[in-house]
Structure formats: structure tokens, C-alpha cells
């Protein structure tokens, strides 16, 4: 087990901000990072940051999902290891297996672990075995009329709402809340088709809906020597249609409750013999009872908040664990000091239901800096928002020793952010950070629905640009129409 030769080169099997994040970790470990790209990403910033790059095809998206193509790229570049990031093939057990077969180190859990834990029913059963509380569920619905009948029975037994979930889903995808029997029947078919299209697996199951819970998750890290630690909780309650927008570490729960949840996560990880980084997700009801939700067998988008409050680099340890090294951190050494908040700055128009601003050009990009600011981004002046991929521009993570400090720092950072060209979520966040319920740190997954006024913000720009706009208008009209 200790005979794994050291890794010299890592293929980063992803794009966008997470590819950049992984390159940084690889390079800090003293290794070379290899990027891959499809044609639409030829100008993407992850290529500039990597040490070398391999073009894998015209795309879009299909080549990033093409296991053979990526194995080919790894071989071509001479990489010994592959880091999948999140999304694309990160939780595809075939990909992990293909890497192993090709003699490449897959930086993540084993294919078998991904396979089992990615299956919601198996991961749930394992949770029950490990003694974790779980939400009442239906088990996999049989196809066709039997499935519909079973679904209706489940709804009648536990009442509405119920959650309709894709077995292969995750990260907020493949989940729908269903409020009535009629809706349930009409949604089953759509959810199945979506699951087939998105995950290649159309199987569905039902869970009792818990209204406006808090969404809490625990970062875990295990090595190949049986050591498992948790790195504290995260609060991901601020979501829009099950997509996380704002993530916070630690969980903002009562510390005793958070500790209990973290111990459950460890219990689970030990039970399944978990190796490498993962996230155990929980729902916390208003009475503080909590339920195991699922486990994500990969690095999460929001890992930055945990890194900030613990000071522990997760990506670097993922690489070391994959190399067979022992974890250099014991549970006793993990402290969460202060608070971190991460916001996903997307090229989207919140006023238009977060419609992506695809194809728009970033004309101006000025980012904030200074104490307590971390940026994980890919946007730059001249960047064009791709129509082919997601609209995430940058993750802004701020740190504050006290919660209030973190919030005011976030407000300051957002005020200093200036992106001209696409509409972004920045002005919406500027309003959100000033909202009292958010500022007090007490919110659940119903937060955004309760605060429609947050969408009524104004797009304020910096003063100098405003006057420049007037000068340009005078130039256009050949005179100052506001002086007449």
C-alpha cells in the first residue's frame, strides 16, 4: 500500500473555477497541472494557470464527459493522477474505474465507494446501519403504473409535500418538491426524463418533505490508513430551487448540535470505510432533529469556507491521500475559528429568474481585495460568458472572526466589486447582506421565498463611470442634451 510512486503530474479533468482551484493545489504540492479543454473553452483562464493543456475535442460538454477521451489526454500528457473536481465525471464510478484500469490514480474515493454511495437507496441503508436518523422514504419506485401507485400510497401515508428524487442526482439536481397527488403524477415522467438526460439513470424515489429545514453538511476527509476526520459543518440553507447560492462555515447551529451532527458524519464515514474528501449532508428541522440526507463523494463547490475557517487545504490533502500518505491532521487539530461566507457570483439576472447572461462580454472586471477576501474565479476583462457551460464567474469567500465582521466584510467586498457587461448576482447579494434576517444569521431553506423584496435592488455603479457615461452621451449627441 505504501508502494505508490509519487505523483509528478496531475490531469485536472474539469473546467472553469474549480479547474483553477485544482491547478493551484497541484502546483503548491510541487507537481505539474495538466488542463483539458473543449473548443469553446480555448480562451478559458484555467488553461493559463495550468502548466500544460490538452485539447480534447470540439465539445461542448460531451468531451468533458467522455471518459475515453480524458484517459487518452492523461496518457498523452504523462500524468499519473486525475482530479475530477465537481460536476461532469466527478461522481461517475465508471470514470474512477477506468482511471484505475488505466493505471492512473483517481483523486477521490474508490469506484466502488462512488458506486454505492451515489446510489441514494444504498447510501441510505448504510446510514441506517451506521445508526443515523433518515427521512422516511419510499425506496426505488418501480417503473410505469406500479411506481405511480406506490408513489401515491407514500404520499397518502406521510402527507405532502414529498420530495421526488433521482437516484443518481445530487448537488441540488434531480430533486423536486411535490405538493399534491396530481402534481406528483404529472412530475414523475418529467423527473424521469430529466434524470435520464442528466445522469443516464432514470430511477426515482420519494422522501417525506421537511418544510423549510436548515441544510447542514459536514466535510470529511479520510486516508487509506483508516483515519477519518471531520472539518466542521457548513450551512447551505440559502438556496434557490435547491441550488445553493450562499454557503457558510461553520453551521451557525448550536455548537452541541453541530458536534452531534459531525459525529454522525464520522460514524457514517467509518462505517463505509470512506477514503479521501467527501461531504455528508443533513437536514435539520425546526425542532433541531436532524436527518441524514446524502453523501457527496467529491470536492464541493463550497469547500472554500471550510478551508478558510479551519486553515486546512482540502485539495492538497486529497492529493496526498491519493498518494497513500497518512493524514497529517488529527481531529484534535481541527478548529473552526471565526466565520466564512461564500457567495456564488454568477452571470445571471436575478430579476429575470436568474436567467443566464450567456454570450455577454465582460467589459470591466474589478475585484475586491484586502483582509479576509478569497476569490476563486475565472472571469477577467474580455471574458465572454459561455452559452455552453454554467454561468459561475467567481466564488467570493470572506472571513470574519465574528459573524458580524464576516457580514460587514462581505458587504464591503460586494460594494468594491465591479463587473460591467453581463448582469450578475452582485447587486442582489448587496441587498441580501443588508437584510436583517440574513445579517442575524438565522435562516432556513425558505429564506429566499420569504424575501421577495431582495429582488427589488438597483444596479449602482461607481461614480467615475457614471460621469464617463455622460461624457460618452455628449459625444454621441454632439452636445449635452441635459443642458438644453
Amino acid at each position: 500500500m505504501n508502494t505508490i510512486p509519487p505523483i509528478e503530474k496531475v490531469l485536472v479533468a474539469n473546467r472553469g473555477e474549480i479547474a483553477i482551484r485544482l491547478c493551484r493545489g497541484v502546483q503548491e504540492e510541487g507537481k505539474r497541472a495538466v488542463a483539458i479543454y473543449e473548443s469553446p473553452d480555448a480562451e478559458s483562464r484555467h488553461l493559463r494557470i495550468a502548466d500544460e493543456a490538452v485539447w480534447i475535442g470540439p465539445g461542448p460538454r460531451k468531451d468533458y464527459l467522455d471518459i475515453d477521451r480524458i484517459i487518452w489526454a492523461a496518457r498523452k500528457s504523462g500524468a499519473q493522477a486525475v482530479h475530477p473536481g465537481y460536476g461532469f465525471l466527478a461522481e461517475n464510478p465508471q470514470f474512477a474505474a477506468a482511471c484505475e484500469e488505466a493505471g492512473l490514480i483517481f483523486i477521490g474515493p474508490s469506484a466502488a465507494t462512488i458506486q454505492d454511495l451515489g446510489d441514494k437507496t444504498i447510501s441510505r441503508r448504510l446510514a441506517e446501519e451506521a445508526g443515523l436518523p433518515t427521512i422516511p422514504g419510499s425506496g426505488i419506485l418501480p417503473p410505469g403504473g406500479d411506481g405511480k401507485r406506490a408513489a401515491v400510497e407514500f404520499g397518502a401515508k406521510y402527507g405532502y409535500p414529498v420530495m421526488l428524487k433521482a437516484v443518481a442526482g445530487g448537488g441540488g439536481r434531480g430533486i423536486r418538491k411535490v405538493d399534491s397527488e396530481k402534481e406528483l403524477l404529472s412530475q414523475i415522467e418529467i423527473a424521469k426524463n430529466e434524470a435520464v438526460s442528466a445522469f443516464g439513470d432514470g430511477r426515482l424515489y420519494l422522501e417525506k418533505g421537511i418544510v423549510n429545514p436548515r441544510h447542514i453538511e459536514v466535510q470529511i476527509l479520510g486516508d487509506q490508513h483508516g483515519n477519518v476526520i471531520h472539518m466542521g459543518g457548513r450551512n447551505c440553507s440559502i438556496q434557490r430551487r435547491h441550488q445553493k447560492l450562499v454557503e457558510i462555515a461553520p453551521s451557525l447551529l448550536d455548537p452541541a448540535l453541530e458536534e452531534k451532527i459531525c459525529q454522525s458524519a464520522i460514524q457514517y464515514a467509518k462505517h463505509v470505510g470512506y477514503v479521501n474528501a467527501g461531504t455528508v449532508e443533513f437536514l435539520v428541522d425546526s425542532d433541531d432533529s436532524f436527518y441524514f440526507l446524502e453523501i457527496n463523494t467529491r470536492l464541493q463547490v463550497e469547500h472554500t469556507v471550510t478551508e478558510v475557517v479551519t486553515g486546512i487545504d482540502i485539495v492538497r490533502r486529497m492529493i496526498r491521500v491519493a498518494e497513500g500518505k497518512k493524514l497529517d491532521v488529527t481531529q484534535d487539530e481541527v478548529f473552526c475559528r471565526g466565520f466564512a461566507i461564500e457567495m456564488r457570483i454568477n452571470a445571471e439576472d436575478p430579476k429575470q429568474d436568474f436567467a443566464p447572461e450567456s454570450g455577454k462580454h465582460v467589459a470591466v472586471y474589478n475585484s475586491p481585495g484586502g483582509p479576509g477576501i478569497r476569490l476563486d474565479g475565472m472571469a477577467y476583462q474580455g471574458y465572454t460568458i459561455p452559452t455552453e457551460y454554467d454561468s459561475l464567474l467567481v466564488k467570493l469567500t470572506v472571513y470574519g472572526f465574528r459573524w458580524e465582521e464576516a457580514v460587514s466584510r462581505l458587504s464591503r467586498a460586494l460594494k468594491n466589486y465591479r463587473i460591467v457587461g453581463p448582469k450578475t448576482t452582485i447587486p442582489f447579494y448587496r441587498k441580501l447582506v443588508l437584510e436583517p434576517e440574513f445579517a442575524s444569521g438565522s435562516f432556513d431553506t425558505g429564506y429566499l421565498e420569504r424575501h421577495p423584496e431582495l429582488y427589488d435592488y438597483s444596479d449602482q455603479e461607481a461614480q467615475e463611470a457614471k460621469v464617463a457615461k455622460l461624457l460618452s452621451a455628449i459625444h454621441y449627441h454632439g452636445k449635452n442634451i441635459f443642458a438644453e
Binding site: R173, A363, K466
Partner: protein, 642 residues
Amino acid sequence: MSIRITPGSDVKEALKAIRGSDSYFVTNTARDLSQSDFKNRILAHTDILVAPEREAAGYFSLEITGGASVHVDMLRKQINPFERLQLLRSLMPNTMFQTLCRGVNLFGYRPYPENVLRLTVKEFAKYVEVWRVFDFLNHVPNMIPVFEEVQRAGKFLEATVCFSTGPEHTDEFYVKKVGEILDVTGPDILLALKNHSGLGTPQRIGQLVSSLLDAYPDLIIHYHGHNTDGNDIGRIIAAVQAGAKIIDAADHAMTGFFGPPPLLTVLDLLDDMGYKAEGINRDAVIATSDKLKQERPAYAVFESQFKGFDPTVHTHKLPGGAMGSSFEQAVKGGFLGRMNEILMKELPRVHKELGNYWSVTPGSQILWTTAVTHTLSGKRYVNASEDLKRLLLERYGPFPFYRPADDIYEAAFGPDWKTIVERDSGIEECPPVDLEAEQAELEKALGRPADIEELVLYLQHPRDAVNFLKFEEEYGKTYVLPPSVWLRQGGFDAEEVVTFADHTGKHHSITFASTQELQDGSQLNYLYVDHHLEPFHHYPEASQGQAGPKKELTQAEIASLAEMGEVRAPMTGVVAQISLEVDQKISEGDTLLVLEAMKMLNSLDAAIAGVVSEVAVTEGQQVAKGDLLVRVRPLRSKDASE
């Protein structure tokens, strides 16, 4: 030791000091100069530029607001009139600011309700120490609410008698008029003698000042005149010799032909005659003009196209402020060739027929418009303007000397004129406005809370105040731009650099990098803003919607169209699945089709029950937000029963 009366001084004490002085005081009438000789266009930028010199000059007051300036600040200078005063106050802590207030018409052209009058005066009085208040009919009751509020605020009330010439304009009349004022205000006021057209000889003015002082020995007279005939300095000297304590003049680098005379000339002449101006620093007066000389060329377009003094003013009596604009109207209206006829024949005739009142706002506009209409149409009084009718009905106030002849009323109002006069005559009653409702209206228009000063501006000029506040939101504080930029004609040169300090004190540099004329008629400019390249896109206004950017439907619009059976894409994406066909019956909530966007499948459900009449897309088709997908013919209740 010279006396300087500064903001916050006790009015009674200050008036005592003025009475006790054996010298005279000077008001710099910068606002009046701007209005009379530069169509009101001198920018705050220029007033800010010379603020230190004017502060050092030691004037009794700087007339810097009031008249039309409140309106023009918002309309053509895009500056908040209150903010302008705050800015100047911070630079000129020891100089009293003076305003010109049209009594019941405030800074506008029509009477305002009493609660608006009082609120406006109260808010402006926070910045303005000296209040010159007049009424074009010298009708004292029209000024009382403003008088009261000024005195309540502890500011200097400068009650005003307007001056004119003619057989009715006797010393006796004016002495009586001043008595009416003093009965209302008490003795602790300044009295302005307002000679807005610059009428009368020096001897006439000297005689009137003497008569007033004979009747009221403690009266402090502030003489104000215009230099249209080139001889206001003569009248000023006569006024001071007769005992006037304060006079008006302006910075010589900017003086023209229709406004105030050059201040330095007045100072030097009176000095030679043994009259010392109280507290004046002559060097600072000169230094002010040295700076202003550099600025005047940028304002050249606003100076009258006809240069030279106009001694015929003694016949037509148009006030300074109306001279430039009347010539401008004549040029635009194509009747420049008939100006002599209008000014020398019809205007004096109309003036006499309409009661020989004081030709000043808004009365001067009525005389001028009536004379022009008569001359151009060849018909007299039959096409009477609404303002003329209001004058005839004494809505503004009673005629001071005599009423116009009956045939004028008959021409203006028709055969029923007697009934109309009987029914409608008398001072207009303005019911109070609901200030809270007005505030709500304003806030609705702005989409944000409004403060009390913004409300005051809105009450004066609702539309222009909202436009200005929206301008400011979009373009920021633009008063930092010099006139050479603000009044730029013909755009900017390539690589031209504009530098300025913004309202927070930060220096900025803006460079014109490139201009592209695009095929759709729009223009794309690239500017370096503080060394960062930024694009600015401008679309032609007339062809908006056609050549301009495609207007996107909002979610609300898409939703309301769906209610009418027009199903449009709520987002850009690909049609993943269509589960219906034409003529299919559907119920509310049925899934019409599935749209894939950003890797998510979104089912579009029917907002209404009906029959599918059109399917505009096919599976796999890329659709943009707002594109038509499906049309549903709504099922009416009658159809449903079939």
C-alpha cells in the same frame, strides 16, 4: 473697524449696525447676472471656482439663488438647488446668501398653495439669509406667507417695492406702499427698491429714496437696478447719495448689457466721492474677475446675439431677464424684423392699456406675449392667453392704478364677459396640497424614499424634479464638470483627456479611446476611465425598438401572456420534449412542453384551460427567452359546458 454681517447674525443687531454705519454695503448679484445676460446658464462649477475670492471680497450678501435659477438648476444644469447652496456654503462660511422670491409665485410663474409656500421657504431658509420678496402687482397680501416664514426662520426679510415710471408712479404712491408693508412686517426689515428694467433717471431715483427716508427715517433701502440703458451706475450713485444703504452690482468680467452694472466701477466712483463701501476688499473683487475672464468664453453661446446697451428700454420697459429671451424668440419665430414695432409701439400701448403695472415676472411675460400676438396676428386681445385672462380677472391681485377698458374684456372673453368677470374675478384661492400624498407620488416615481428637500423641489416643478433626480441616479454628480465639457458642442476629439475631481474629492481621468458607428445606427464608444477601458453604447432614440436593442419581455409579461393563451419561453434553452399537438384539449396545469436550460429540465404548464391552436416549435429547437412556443385558445365557460 468695518462691519461684516455673517450668517447666523442676529437680525435686529445687524440692522442696527447697518443703520449706524455712515457707509454703504454691496450685494454681488451673481444670480441676476446669470439670468439677465447668460440666459441663466452660469454653472455651479463657475460659482464654486470663484467662491474663495467672493468670500474674501466682503459683500453684504451674494445673490446666488432664487428667480428662475431653482428651475434651471434642475432643468439645464442637473444640480440639486439645495446641494448647490450647501456646496457654496461650505466654501463661503462668512458670506450671507440672498435669494429673489416672487412672493406667492415663489421661484415659479403661478401661485402656490400656502402650505407649499411655507414649507419651501422654511427649507430654503436653512441656507439663505437674505430674502428679497416681491410681487409684480406690489400687492402686499401676496407676500405675507413668505414674509412670515422668513421672519419666523430668523432671516433677513427684504420686502420689496417694484419700481416703474409713468404718471401713476409717484413718490406718494410708493411711500404709501412702503407703509402698507411696514404695517405687516414691523420695522425690522430691509426694503428693496427693485428697478428691474433700469428705469428713471438718477435724479428720479435719488428723489424717491429721499422721499421714502423722509417718511421712514429708519428704513434701510437696498437699491437694485439693471444697466440696460448703460446708466444704472448713475442711479446707484444717486441712491447712495440720497441715503440708500445697500446697492447691487456684479463682477465686471461677466457683466453684459441687460443685467447688473460692474461692481468695481461703482466702488471706485463712490470712493472718489467720499463713500466707502463697508468691508469690501477691492483686491478680492479684482481677483474674482481675473478668474471669471477665463470662464466667460465657454458661455459665449448664451450671451445675447445683439450686443450693446438699449436706452429704448425707457419706452418698452422690458426687464433685464426678458431681453435676451425675447430676441431669441424673435429669431426662432422669424419676427426679428418686427421687433422695433413690437418693442416701441405695441408693447408700450399694451402696458398702458393693461394698467401700467410693473413689468416683471410673471407680468412682463404677459405684456410681451400679448404684444407679440397683437403684432403678428393684427388682432388685439381676441386671442387672449390664459395668463392674460387671469390678469384681467385679477386672479393675481388687483390692478394697482386702474382697470383695463371694457372693450378689452369684451375682446378677451366674448359677449358674456360681464358674467364671466362677475363670476370669476378675485384672487385665486389655492387649496392646500396633501403633502404626504405628494411625497408618496414622488417616491413612487423615483422608486426610493425621498427626503424633504427633494419633496420641496418636486412641489415646485414635479416633472423636472423627477427627471433631474433620475438623471443624477444615472450619471452621478455632474456639477464637477467645467463649462467647456458640460456645454461641449460637437463631441470630443480622439484621445482627448477630461480630468476632474469628483464630489468626494477624487481625481479622475477620462480619455476618449475610440468611436465606432455600428450598422444599426448605434454608436459604441470606448473610454479609458481612470486608465481602465470601458464601453458605452448609445442607440438612436427615434428608431428604438426597430434598430435599437431588442426589448426583452419580463417574466411578468411572459406570465400575463400565458394567461391569455400565448405561451412564451421563460428562459433561453432547448425544447426537450413536446407533449401535445394542435387541436388537443388541455386543462390548467397540464404540462405543455419541457424546456432544457442550463442542464435543467423545466416543465411549462398550462396557465389556462383551452385548445392548442398552434405549436410554434419542434423538439430539439433552440429558443430565446420570450419566443413564442405554443398558442392556446382559451376555453370560455360557454364552451366548457358544451
